[in-house]
Amino acid sequence: MPATVAEEWLNACSGCEISILNTGGALLELLPQLSFVHIPVLIDHKYFGPLGKGASMEIPEAVVGIVSGSVRNEEHKHVLEEMRKKTKILIALGSCAAYGGIPSQANMFTRDEVFEKVFRGSPSTDAAPDPKHENVPPWLESCKALDEVVKVDITIPGCPPHPDWIADAITALLRGGTAWSLPERSVCDTCPVIREKKSAGGPVKRCLENVAFNPEEGLDKMRCINEQGFLCLGPVTLAGCAGKSGVPRCVQARTPCRGCFGPIRKSARPMVDMMGAMTSIGLDPKTVVDRRAIMNRYTGAHGNLKPLPARPAGR
């Protein structure tokens, strides 16, 4: 008997779903063992029945529930609660679901500030009142991770998560497991660059220029990006973005990590730890431009980002 799976996306970008499809051959091997009863990106199951007559939203029961995206509005909350009710094991897929993700950067602003900008502060838009209608769900007061709303059984972080881990977690469940998590290692632990535990010092560099490297040589011949004086969140970010083997994806592009896999463990305090990591190699963390936003780029839920009282733009 294939295991039943229901999938939903909330305040999401669909990258998590594309990542599932990018599983490649592993996807084709897994498919016969899974029976998708609901997954809007691929299958035409409807909340209100095939004739659109149902009185209330209905998602079929399934053993495994997968939800990507954060919880931004009333409807997301409703769909998530329905998914929790109907599925035995609920998986939070991706960093939006796990930590709020990029859209939780909006938590630096109030709802009114955002709506004012979008509907009355855009040069191309004919200013109008905020949309208000039974079919446009009101925003919640903040952009939330799933576990701020319901109990989550398994978290597959990443933006998007690597297909290896999606396949791995699902395989574990198919074998009867009920838990799964990534090993607690940092991105730096999987990074082949040269580290000398010191930097040239000076203010932290912005990515206004490229990092220094010889393109004909591998990453093992490149100096650590932090030690080159740029901010790289590798030290405080959970490893896994390159799947089971391979180097951190951003570093592969010769660009710094921005923390998309989230903190290494639940109790970690990445902002504090990162300050420590920088200080230890002689960089002054106070010189990081736009520090609060950049250090919480994928983790604005759980109260990490909040509107600040009147501050000059951008600081």
Partner: protein
């Protein structure tokens, strides 16, 4: 008032929407609406972010076309900071864009659109999907999975991330391509080109011919078109001037920086998604099915309509064949699927051509940039349409204002019209079935929102 039909979620599309069909007492369509329920507020939370970080923030607007946002943002950043990226950087940006688009177009055609045609629009919903496709045509399905995976792999191996890239920044890109990488990717690109040619032939023989009746009737509307062309009128995805065509085929060209003179956005209380319209035409926006005004479309059908020609030879031959059947501009909504595959051929040919260009391995790929106050409009053609990023920076190079019009938004009014047309034609006297409702969705799916 009579019954209300709720189609939610709209499925096999890459976004979130809901259609509500209101019937009158006689069971005929009184009104229809496509509601978009999601709003994330990027325009606001980009304020204060360093402009060089923007390409790796805004790509998260869409996980299907992150490369389009990534590049539009890089171009807006180039303009804010007043820099011209080195030629090899532009070529690499274009190359990554083409590889990503080939993957996207394969995904769209085989996984999202094809079930309606291969299984048929009226089949039971449980089989009308990619799993059904795998059952019906396992060999082709295997190849699609393989080639999609290949596009993602090329992007990851070279540029780190296939989804939500970090490769491009104001001033250029983060790394050059080595000769070894070029040769390796070229071999793969040639295979992708072959599969792209197979795909359009397969579709012409087995799909479009069979569904000509549906193509001629479903969701048909006659509105304007928007796209991007080079100075000599060829379709371009990365750069050029914008062309806004009226329903009758006459058009205006404008430079990116002048978009505000040509395009406005209207807000309706019943959708978070705005309704862009052709401000330049001076008649505002009306979504009256009998007499629409100000409505234009974006995405592939619009692009191949506004372009005088395709940029590559095989795609050009396909366009000529297409035009011999459907003319210019072609209005039939389901022709989006056909147009998408003509574009697939151009993307695949361009990809190979870029890789055959020896300049692409130049090691000069980025000019260092300096923060400054400025404004920059960056426009690229995203898979779903003309994508506009308009930024203003302060003296520290932090974003003061960001205005974004994403590809699919341009189609909001047109999609609403097509839904109305389809529902009105198909639902009579209260009689309909799930096949009918699926056809209403097919009118949306064509736009690939």
């Amino acid at each position: 008032m009579g019954q209300v039909i709720n189609i939610q979620p709209i499925t096999r599309i890459e976004g979130h929407a809901k259609v509500v069909i209101q019937l009158d007492d006689a069971g005929n369509v009184a009104d229809t609406r496509m509601h978009v329920q999601a709003l994330r507020g990027f325009e606001k939370f980009c304020e204060g972010r360093p402009v060089e970080e923007m390409p790796r923030i805004v790509c998260h607007i869409c996980g299907i076309c992150p490369w389009a946002h990534h590049l539009a943002s890089s171009k807006a950043g180039d303009a804010c900071l007043g820099v011209t990226p080195p030629p090899a950087a532009v070529k690499l940006r274009r190359l990554m864009q083409m590889i990503a688009y080939v993957g996207d177009k394969l995904l769209n055609f085989y996984f999202l659109a094809a079930p309606d045609f291969v299984m048929g629009p009226d089949t039971e919903y449980a089989t009308r999907n990619v799993v059904g496709i795998i059952g019906a045509a396992p060999d082709i399905a295997k190849q699609v999975v393989h080639f999609r995976h290949l596009t993602a792999q090329i992007l990851e191996n070279f540029a780190g991330r296939a989804i939500h890239p970090t490769f491009s920044m104001p001033g250029g890109v983060s790394k050059p391509m080595t000769e070894k990488e070029r040769e390796d990717i070229l071999g793969k690109a040639q295979k992708l080109l072959e599969f792209s040619k197979f795909t359009i032939d397969f579709a012409k023989k087995n799909v479009f011919a069979k569904y000509l009746d549906a193509i001629k009737s479903l969701g048909v509307i006659k509105v304007g078109h928007l796209g991007t062309v080079t100075d000599d009128g060829a379709l371009d995805f990365y750069d050029g001037k914008q062309r806004l065509m009226k329903p009758d085929g006459s058009y205006d060209d404008f430079p990116s920086g002048a978009y505000l003179d040509h395009i406005g956005e209207h807000v309706e209380p019943w959708s978070y998604q705005k309704f862009p319209y052709a401000k330049r035409w001076g008649s505002g926006l009306s979504m009256d099915l009998a007499n629409p005004s100000g409505v234009y479309r974006s995405n592939c059908l619009a692009r191949i309509n506004v372009a005088d020609k395709m940029a590559t030879p095989l795609a050009q031959a396909e366009l000529e064949e297409f035009r011999s059947h459907f003319g210019r501009p072609a209005h039939l909504t389901l022709l989006y699927h056909y147009a998408r595959l003509i574009e697939l051929v151009q993307c695949a040919e361009s990809m190979v051509a870029l890789l055959e260009d020896p300049q692409i391995t130049s090691t000069e790929v980025r000019v260092a940039v300096k923060p400054r106050a400025g404004r920059g409009v960056g426009i690229v053609e995203a898979p779903r349409g003309t994508l506009i990023h308009d930024y203003e920076t302060d003296a520290d190079g932090l974003i003061l204002k960001a205005n974004l019009i994403v590809g699919t938004t341009h189609n909001n009014a047109a999609m609403n019209l097509s839904v109305k047309q389809a529902a009105t034609e198909l639902i009579k006297n209260g009689t309909y079935d799930q096949g009918v409702l699926n056809k209403v969705e097919m009118a949306i799916r064509a736009y690939d929102p």
